[in-house]
Symmetry: C2
Subunit: 457 residues, 2 copies
Amino acid sequence: MSTISTNPPAGMRDFGPAELCARRHVENVIRDVFEAHGFVEIETPAVENLSTLLGKYGEEGDQLLFRLLHRRDKLSRALEGKPAEKDLAETGLRYDLTVPLARFIANNAATLPRFFKRYQIQPVWRADRPGKGRFREFCQCDVDITGTSSLLAEADICNAVAMTLSRLGLTNVAIHLNHRCLLRGLIAASGITAGHEESALVAVDKLDKINEDGVLKELDTRGITPESGRKLLEVLRRPDGLTEVAELDRLRTALASNEEAVKSIDELRQLLEVAADSMAGPLFKIDASLARGLGYYTGPIFEIRAADIKGSLGGGGRYDNLIGMFSNRSIPAVGFSIGFERLILVLEERKLMPPLMTGPEVLLCRFAEVPAAGILRIANLLRQAGLRIEVYPETPKIGKQLGYAESIHVKVAAMLGEDELKAGNITLKNLASGEQVTVTLGAAASMITGWLGKTPL
Amino acid sequence: MSTISTNPPAGMRDFGPAELCARRHVENVIRDVFEAHGFVEIETPAVENLSTLLGKYGEEGDQLLFRLLHRRDKLSRALEGKPAEKDLAETGLRYDLTVPLARFIANNAATLPRFFKRYQIQPVWRADRPGKGRFREFCQCDVDITGTSSLLAEADICNAVAMTLSRLGLTNVAIHLNHRCLLRGLIAASGITAGHEESALVAVDKLDKINEDGVLKELDTRGITPESGRKLLEVLRRPDGLTEVAELDRLRTALASNEEAVKSIDELRQLLEVAADSMAGPLFKIDASLARGLGYYTGPIFEIRAADIKGSLGGGGRYDNLIGMFSNRSIPAVGFSIGFERLILVLEERKLMPPLMTGPEVLLCRFAEVPAAGILRIANLLRQAGLRIEVYPETPKIGKQLGYAESIHVKVAAMLGEDELKAGNITLKNLASGEQVTVTLGAAASMITGWLGKTPL
């Protein structure tokens, strides 16, 4: 068995203790902030019926689904004929958290509150080509409010996102803000026909990555005249020094008579007002070129950008026609997906992860003549004081035990010999300073707590 | 799309907010206790290579693996011929957490500490026939110490498990204790040949479920003479009133000259001594009939049993030949798997789940003339005091908003009208008592905190 690889499969990852602590930290901040906003958490299974998943993510998405192979009789029967892919599986792995939310809402319609504010932090799986920062299993962190068309929902969610970023210590971030109807209006006003709208959206979506020249080229390839392309790029270009409201006014002029687009500008202006005193207010940045890939948005769209970082740290928007897909009802919704994996990377790059390890703080060592029962009793005594205690399981020379203590980076070693045991004492060594003292068992916890700089329980 | 089922696939579950709170509570207690014992957490991917998984769980286990169907070219190529199951997949879903641990250890050998104390709480997937309490996706919670043969490791793990049960409020529990070599010795001493040992183990494992008569019948079916069967059952029967040590002495007499089995009795006696002053000490119950299904145990084995509850709440033991399987090394190990799903059921049955909801505590309502921006500002003010605040997103009549507040079980409704807004006040309503007061914004948080019985931040 020695020849098989012990790496995880391509695009999948193991998380060791240090990485996992960092992930838990971010998770806990998100959890705290969203719960402070009245969101509740749900989980859905990793496996969904293909009838639930297929056709929801476009053709490309369908291709990236992991399907679970039929088993036993069902497989045998399928293999008797000349099977195609569809004959070999009827379930697959979750591809995102939005479709499961829609299914959950349809399945629990009778008991859910009218405004369902849910968050969900779970892995999703996509058979993408693995690459740097691109995984086949990755964590999504979604937060959605369903059941209201009020712009207060947009402001509420963006406030929660802004509070999360702030709690994580992430400064120099902006929430780019646009409206699907606004961008559509600008495309139409540039003389691009309705038939080319989708192509234009796809090209504009890449502005951040391939710049204006690249977008112009792509528009040209897609059959949009250079004149229209240049006109579109010009109106998308935001002049320096404009306030958000002034930028909206500029765009309104460019749109003139497009009623729907003007209405969308009014909505964005209202959203700016509603969120003005919230934590999202100062982060909002009107960005008429923001397209967001997914076609299902119907209103305001947002994206977190950080200075010096390509791409986004998450995004979302209003999507009023999706959540009802399994319910045969129209359910308005607004959501945000925090780019959990990107966020971790950025926090690490910017050295914003606090010291996090939850490993042991104290290693309990003993001389060979001390019975194991005695040391386990002392371990529990110290644990009652909130300390994280590892017990060295064997009794080699004390020097070896201390060497192990250093190798696992505990701050304190506690040593027990026969004399200490009889006297009810213990010897403590501060491994950072080298200080060593013998104290009574009753005094040990507070001594250690002091060395660690912890608040006593 | 209305005809497709919105239930999760067979054997899979959605967890709504209340269920998830209960699960998180248990998870957090486990986390706290194991970290207090110096364990660190890891996670491994849901998907493993089939080369890692196959052949580790017996033939039946292999049958229960979920395999991920090949995609695109690989699938097309496979379908050109006359494919078998093995040609259609090379990865599958995690079946347990032990094999991934072994792979993780082999893959990280250079950086892991000599004694690796890890815990892991993640779902696993098995294509079992779904039934009451039997799921195809369920949470496992494993804790293992690798790298030492010292019995202190057994005591350490059992102490942590005992502390977990105690923190969860679960009383009337026992940790049944046996040793693989002891049970083997008793089987041999009953005149059962080595060739029938495995059959005898399988039959004895069912003693809890099918009683002595059932086991006798099964032993007979498997070709073991009634005389041997009766002899075995007799020696397994523990007389009333014996202490644990006395029970070990009784078993020692029955074994007489079987050197290995006598050694195992000495080990159990030592373990009782080592754990005597720990939280596991009073819970240990020598049970020579404890077999534990899996054949890979090599030393002491344990199982949590609760009074009035059939089956176990988790179990484990020493398994010295498994963790090294991908490393070509022998790595001693002892582990415990807490029956997470059973535990949740039992805690709920015994009404031991504390009040847990993390949903909003306060609903902020407003009259139509109050701008949304004002209410969002107040929401953040109250959140700074550690309160969980939901804002009603629309402005129907206040009565309707209050009705919603009651429907989502918040304890307090806060109402803002134009007068309050101007005066810097807010009206608070205690929905339990009906009490209603108008206070300054600065006084609102402490008033609410008092009503909720929370400690101020």
